[in-house]
Symmetry: C2
Subunit: 147 residues, 2 copies
Amino acid sequence: MFSKACEYGIRAAIYLGQQSADSGRRVGLKDIAAEIGSPEAFTAKVLQQLVRAQLITSVKGPTGGFELTAEQLRTVTLRQIVVAIDGGAMLQGCALGLPQCSAKQPCPMHYQFLPIRDQLNEVLGSHTLGELAGKVHDGLGFLKQFS
Amino acid sequence: MFSKACEYGIRAAIYLGQQSADSGRRVGLKDIAAEIGSPEAFTAKVLQQLVRAQLITSVKGPTGGFELTAEQLRTVTLRQIVVAIDGGAMLQGCALGLPQCSAKQPCPMHYQFLPIRDQLNEVLGSHTLGELAGKVHDGLGFLKQFS
DNA sequence: TAATTAGCGGATAATTTTGTCCGGTATAGA
DNA sequence: TCTATACCGGACAAAATTATCCGCTAATTA
């Protein structure tokens, strides 16, 4: 559904939200990668993309790391994370890959996929990092699994 | 959403359905690739996958080509095409990439994505190649675009 | 100011996906 | 049976994605 980069980005952002909202403390790359079970160096690249898109915040140097501001917690949605990493293709493009698919010249599945697209946009756009962080905090959601 | 291979496979299968239902005649690889706007050699690989999965039929030699039997037209769904080419990951796997995501240890978006998954399965599983071919035949759907 | 910390950015490598090429094989028709 | 046709299958190549490494820079602390 999403690229690996995007999956890591979402998990990292939610974890970051949980730590920022919970303890207010910054988290280092190493911690993030360990907590969400992702490759460290690759995760760094993804986080840099999110920083550039101003969806998360970074601070260099000792005691530095990543964090979410109160505003980011309140306003950044999963949709923004997805668009920043994967672009809008999944949210808008034609399911059959036609470059100009529209009501004018619809692919045979055009109208069947519309509600799915709408719902995906709705679901991704209506959940903020703060909300999702709360879910993890309350033990209602997990970012890594144990056996 | 789907891989390129899968997009080509779906478009090819629907076109094949249209030709089989319409004129009852076999279609060669060259025609298919030209009609759906896909790279010929790569499309051949995808078609071979569909033949092996018995979702489409092929005949070698002169006057040979690809076709859909009446039964394939009536019973094969887009879902089978997708599963044959991309596997079930998109239809079942966790959106955040957790390997063991389930109600037991759900990811934070688990329950939000459930209805989307269900609808996707429903939409893909409830449209046969024959149906979609009819739509193309009636000018209600396109497999390639002109300007 | 020196030393240490931790994110940034570029280069590089491994893997997967996408795409091509070409000889082999089956089949229809003369 | 001979020939032309068209799918099959394996090898190969290009591009994108995923992943790693390392030196640089900013910032904190002593």
